[in-house]
């Protein structure tokens, strides 16, 4: 399950700084949200190692 950090102030039901998962974004074009800067991908410790 991928997790993202909300950057924008207009993601429905979220505030900037909140986390949002790909499950919550089901049906959403995540690539477009990343490209437009609404969310950023968070790196887990496991991924960073």
């Amino acid at each position: 399950m991928a997790t993202y950090k909300v950057v924008a102030d207009n993601i429905a039901g979220k505030n900037p700084g909140d986390s949002i998962t790909d499950e919550e974004l089901e049906g959403t074009n995540i690539a477009a949200l990343l490209e437009s800067g609404h969310i950023t991908k968070t790196t887990s410790k496991k991924e960073a190692e």
Binding site: D9, N10, L25, G27, N29, A32
Partner: protein
């Protein structure tokens, strides 16, 4: 709930609430009429086929980060989910939400208008499957 004037519709495109930029929205919910007329019939008969939905949205343009243009530009040529409510309040029997999943955006107009006009863009989302929620 009585008749009402549309003043505060809610439009969420790709999980982004763009309601503050929307000047008009139309949700056109249709199901194809598939002809099923057979020999012996005295008139045409039809059965319901696939949904054939269209959402048209007019928005004021804003090139600021994460606003209108930044949200829409990467969606062109892709499918997404659009959620529309007649009022921004909670979903209820008198304020149902219409969710159209897998709807396709063929194009946008990043720049449109004549001298003196307010910069705006008109979007048409085609296809997808609609569900209605009342709670």
């Amino acid at each position: 709930m009585a008749i009402f004037v549309l003043k505060n519709a809610s439009v969420t495109i790709n999980s982004v609430d763009l309601s503050a930029y929307v000047t008009s929205v139309t949700v056109d919910y249709k199901v194809d009429a598939v002809e099923s007329t057979a020999m012996g019939a005295s008139g045409h008969s039809f059965t319901g086929g696939l949904q054939s939905n269209t959402i048209t949205v007019n928005l004021n343009q804003d090139f600021a980060a994460t606003k209108t243009e930044a949200t829409i530009f990467p969606l062109v040529g892709t499918t997404t989910t659009v959620v529309v409510k007649s009022d921004s309040g909670a979903v209820s029997a008198t304020n149902p939400s219409y969710t159209i999943a897998g709807t396709y955006l063929e194009g946008s107009q990043p720049v449109a208008g004549a001298v003196g006009d307010l910069a705006a863009m008109a979007l048409t989302f085609n296809g997808g499957t609609m569900t209605k929620a009342t709670s």
